[in-house]
Every structure is written in structure tokens, then in C-alpha cells.
Symmetry: C2
Subunit: 266 residues, 2 copies
């Protein structure tokens, strides 16, 4: 029988609410995800929340009922609350039916199986949580082996990144590494490092890709550092016919990823 | 000599600040854009603000000085203010160096020159301002003839859309039309209507595109209505190998647009 919480002053409510801040996520190693669709994808990917908040009304949806059951049968806690508290946890007026509190998970570099996919996404100093979430979603769609976050990227467990990923956070392995760790790992096995750059004449469409391809995208404003480009096996550019010499980083990554996918399938 | 405004209670400050709300934008037919880079792109595209706000410090940048000159020489007003008011107008703590108030502009359908480009972007009930801005940016990069917004889309002049467009709002023509207006216009001349859909087996990579190609993307959550798909000359899909059967709408549009661009260039 689920516990009920209806007081804003409840300690757990306050604690969960604080996970909207990076500082508290870091301390607790927990993060928030919300919505029946995303939490069901999480469940199907074998990720269950420590705490699952729902309203009596929301629990009538069969997907919510299934989530509550699974969480309770696996040592988590399902907590019935009211719409106002759910909105407070969610940070949105029109809160989703369920909010989950999950333990963070990343995959150490040396546990990535580079043979698992012909495409890997690598992002360097990515700043925008929406871009990170969108790149994860693209990674899911192209069947990428994972997303490797290099140096100081935005937190993949931020509410905005989780939301933009539409559940892909749970299906695409994420690794975090300094460049100095990434390069030796990459060079310890097969893998072509392809940098997206403006400093090249090679069109992405004419380039020869080798599997597994590691697609490296740089910071939104500055692109890749020179030394990082020098490490690449190949630099490619996307044609830009307009006035602005830039594309959104998540868009550029996706165009590249779909090109590599199409080539890898012949 | 620019006028100075340093009072939050100033009528113009209040009026400009109110343009963050759609209701006031609609009433005034004015919108906000900010940042030296974006306003300089606007100037190069022949779009000048009615009002240009800047700080004494910000005006020392040569791009700001050039903007102030051009605005004053073309009947607009350049207004020196302080950092706090600029932040208030911008809605961000770290305001950009300049904020401009521009008259809205869209292009009537019948003034679009469909021969101007092999690629046109068409979005139906797009809800997210970030997606709209990102699609404009992609439109700029692929040299699209314009973006046609069908039915009830998010406002392209919202602060978020303008920001995400990174200036492409000023370089890519925008038309707004009901579907019932769009279809007769489309069929009054050459043009292939290509819908992005999950209800087809045709891969975007194998499809035959005809110039000019009108790429139609549907609502983020629901995709295209059945009747709209039926009107398309061609339906194509992007491969999705993952768990989630969806891509971000701006990403899907970009992958399609780059495919059509590559094909049109042989």
C-alpha cells in the first residue's frame, strides 16, 4: 500500500525538489525524470526509480499502475501525492502524471563495447541541456553505441536534458571523460575519430567512413580546440550556404550521424 | 545624440518589456532581438530596429557603434541605458550588449519566389519555439527559399524562437498560412510536397526528389494529420533503430533538408 504525502513541508518532498539543482544531484547521485512515456521507457530499459510519485487520478492509467507495481516489487517506493506537490517536483504547472527519482548511472569508458555499433557520438564541452537531450534522442534513433561527453559538458541528468532526451537517457549509454582519458582509450582499439569542423574542405558527403566511427562535435559557440582537431583521423564539414556560418550543434551531429548510418548500411 | 533612459518606470521601457508577451507583440506588431551578432546579421539583411538599446560600455564595441550609427541615420532611435534595464528588457541576468525592437515582417505566400531555391521548409503546428528557431537556422544553412508555417504554429517572433534562430529569422523568409491556403498556392506552380512520416516504407535515402522540394514536418507530438499526408506527393521516413519511435522535429527536418540539398547538387 503506497505511502501518502500531502504536505509541502515533508522532508522527502523538499529533498526531491532540491534535485533540480546540480549541487544536490551531485551530492545525492539522484535525478528526476517525469512522464508516463519516459518512465515506461526507463522501465523497459531496466531502470527503475527509487521513488515514484503519482496522484490517485494519475494511477488509474494502466501504464502508471504497471509502473507502481514494478517499483514496489523491486524495492522502490511508490508515493501517492497531490497535484500541487507533483507540480512542485516537476517545476511545471501542468505536471506529468508521474515523477520518478532515479539513481544516476554512467558507463565507464573501459566498459563500452565499441563493437556494439558502427556509430558513436562524442561531444566536447556541450553547454546546452536541450542539445544534450536531443543528441541522446538522435543516438537512440541511429542506434549509436553511446554518447561520450568530453571535458566540461552540461549535466546529462539535469531536468532539461532528461526532458529533451524523451527517454533516450535510459537507452543510450553515457560515458564521461577528460580528453586525456578519451584519446588513449580510443587508440587502444579500432575506431575512426571524425571531427565536425569549419577548418576543412572535406564535405561530409564525400568522406570515407570506417567502422566504428566516433563522431566528435565541439562546443556550441567555439567548436573544437585546434589540438583536438589535430587528433582526428578525418575532419569533415557540412555545407553552409547561408549568412550564418553555423548550425545548431545537435542538428549538425544528427546530419552527420544519419550520413554515417546510411553509409554503414550500404 | 542618443536619448538616455535610466528609469525602470519609463513608459518606453515598460512597453518594450511587454513585448515578451505574445498579446503585446500581436497588438504592436513589434518584437525583440538581442546581441551584437544577431543584430548585425539583421542589419546586413536590411532589417533595422525602431529602437536600439545599449549601454555606454557596450557602445564601445565597433559593431555596436556601427549599429547605433545605422539606426540613427535611418530614422530609428538609439537609446543609452544601464545594465539593469537592458537585463530587464532581455529577461536574462547577463544581458547582451544590445537589444533591438523590430517591426514584425512575414512574406505573403504569393510573394514567395519558388524558383529561388530547390528546398523549402514547411512546418505544421510546430509548438516549440526552440525548434522553430533551429529550423530557421537550418534553413539558412541549406539555402532554403523560406519557412512556411502552417496552421497554429508557435510565434516565430517569440524571444525564444528569435534567440534559437541565431539571426536566421532575418535571413530566411517566413510565410504563415492555413493549410487550405497553402495547398492551392502550392499546386498553382511546380513543387513536390514531401511529408516526413512514420506511415510509409519509403526511406528518405532512396526517394526521388523533384525541385523545388517542399519538406513538410508535422507537430512534435502528433506528426502530420492523415489528410495532410494524403495530399503529399511523397511520404518518406527516417530509419529509427532505437526504442523511441521519434526524433526531435528540428533534427528530422535538418536530416531531410541536407539529404535534399546533397541530391540537388548532384
Amino acid at each position: 500500500m503506497p505511502r501518502q504525502i500531502t504536505a509541502f513541508s515533508n522532508t522527502l518532498v523538499k529533498r526531491v525538489r532540491s534535485l533540480r539543482d546540480k549541487k544536490h544531484r551531485r551530492a545525492e547521485r539522484l535525478f528526476l525524470a517525469e512522464g508516463l512515456r519516459i518512465l515506461t521507457e526507463a522501465r523497459e530499459a531496466g531502470r527503475l526509480p527509487d521513488y515514484l510519485f503519482f496522484t490517485a487520478e494519475g494511477s488509474r492509467h494502466p501504464l502508471a499502475a504497471a509502473l507502481i507495481d514494478t517499483v514496489e516489487n523491486n524495492g522502490g517506493e511508490a508515493i501517492e501525492t497531490n497535484h500541487d506537490i507533483l507540480s512542485k517536483l516537476s517545476g511545471k504547472d501542468n505536471a506529468q502524471a508521474v515523477v520518478g527519482v532515479f539513481p544516476e548511472f554512467t558507463t565507464p569508458l573501459d566498459q563500452l563495447d565499441r563493437g556494439a555499433s558502427p556509430i558513436w557520438l562524442v561531444a566536447e564541452r556541450l553547454r546546452d541541456p536541450g542539445n544534450l537531450g536531443t543528441i541522446l534522442r538522435t543516438g537512440d534513433a541511429v542506434g549509436a553505441g553511446g554518447l561520450i561527453l568530453i571535458d566540461d559538458c552540461v549535466d546529462p541528468f539535469s531536468v532539461e536534458a532528461v526532458r529533451a532526451s524523451m527517454g533516450a537517457l535510459f537507452t543510450v549509454p553515457i560515458a564521461q571523460a577528460r580528453w586525456e582519458e578519451f584519446v588513449p582509450w580510443l587508440r587502444s582499439g579500432p575506431g575512426q575519430l571524425v571531427g565536425l569542423s569549419l577548418q576543412t574542405e572535406s564535405s561530409y558527403r564525400d568522406a570515407a567512413y570506417a567502422s566504428p566511427t566516433f563522431l566528435l562535435t565541439g562546443n556550441e559557440a567555439q567548436g573544437l580546440p585546434e589540438a583536438y582537431e589535430a587528433e582526428c583521423d578525418l575532419l569533415v564539414k557540412l555545407p553552409m550556404l547561408g549568412k550564418a556560418d553555423s548550425l545548431n550543434a545537435a542538428v549538425a551531429t544528427a546530419v552527420m550521424a544519419y550520413e554515417v548510418l546510411a553509409r554503414s548500411r550500404g
